[in-house]
Amino acid sequence: MEKMKLATEGDRYIVVTRRFAAAPEAVYRAHTDPKLIQKWCLGPDGWTMPVCISDARPGGKIRYEWKNGTGEGFYLTGEFVELVPFSKIVHIERMHLPDPTPDNRVETRFEPDGKGTLMTMRMTLPDAATRAAMLSTGMEHGMEASYVRMERELEK
């Protein structure tokens, strides 16, 4: 599969594109069915999503809760705005770190691409304060993953 592309668009947006070896219907379901979301939307290694609410209809609620092995966690809430099976999802989301970040509007499109799917996700670039908060959370995650790898190496 072709690697993911991530690009900034002007000073407000980020556009992510990625190809998948499955039909748009399957990729769309993996983005809306909570049982499937829990299997992949986990960020860095070592995190799980014990709670996943994804009420896939306009106005339907979204809630993802992540936890790592050491009892740390954060969550995301949001609402679906528009759903066009199996080609388009528009939703609003905010992270709680634990203070809520400003709303981020995310538009995800799924297009047939040969036997697979081309996914394009366009989201608002968060403001400086949000990025700083996400970065500090992410850095902890990254560091934790590094420490685990280091411990494994040391045990050898």
């Binding site: 991530l6 998948f20 399957a26 992949w40 860095p44 970065l135 990254g142």
Partner: protein, 120 residues
């Protein structure tokens, strides 16, 4: 990440949103240049270029060196670190997610095939 770079992320993204400013950065990547030297290829007035330069300077991407009456601009090393760091964090988290999604999709497809076999 140094806190100065973090505060500047908005200014950096704003600075990078303009094609002329990106071209100026590309030019400065080849070495320092004065306002006059920078204005020439862009077919812009000196004040217009100066305005672009002050946006880049406020974002911490370029700096001015004083050399007699000349004021050459040059790139600040590490000026893009804050943006790079944030984008690379975003990229690695998403890449990991989509690798897992590839696996989920492959598993679902195999399960379906098996299902069809059973029904037959």
């Amino acid at each position: 990440m140094n806190p100065h770079a973090q505060q500047n992320l908005d200014a950096v993204f704003l600075a990078l949103s303009d094609p002329t400013r990106r071209a100026i950065l590309a030019r400065l990547a080849r070495g320092e240049a004065t306002v006059n030297e920078l204005a020439r290829p862009f077919d812009m007035t000196q004040p217009a270029i100066s305005r672009h330069l002050s946006v880049l300077e406020e974002a911490g991407l370029i700096t001015t060196r004083v050399e007699g009456v000349r004021r050459p601009r040059r790139l600040v090393s590490g000026g893009m670190d804050g943006v790079d760091e944030w984008l690379s964090l975003m990229r690695s988290a998403l890449e990991r997610n989509y690798e897992r999604l590839d696996h989920v999709l492959a598993t679902t497809r195999r399960a379906k095939r098996k299902d069809k076999k059973w029904k037959r």
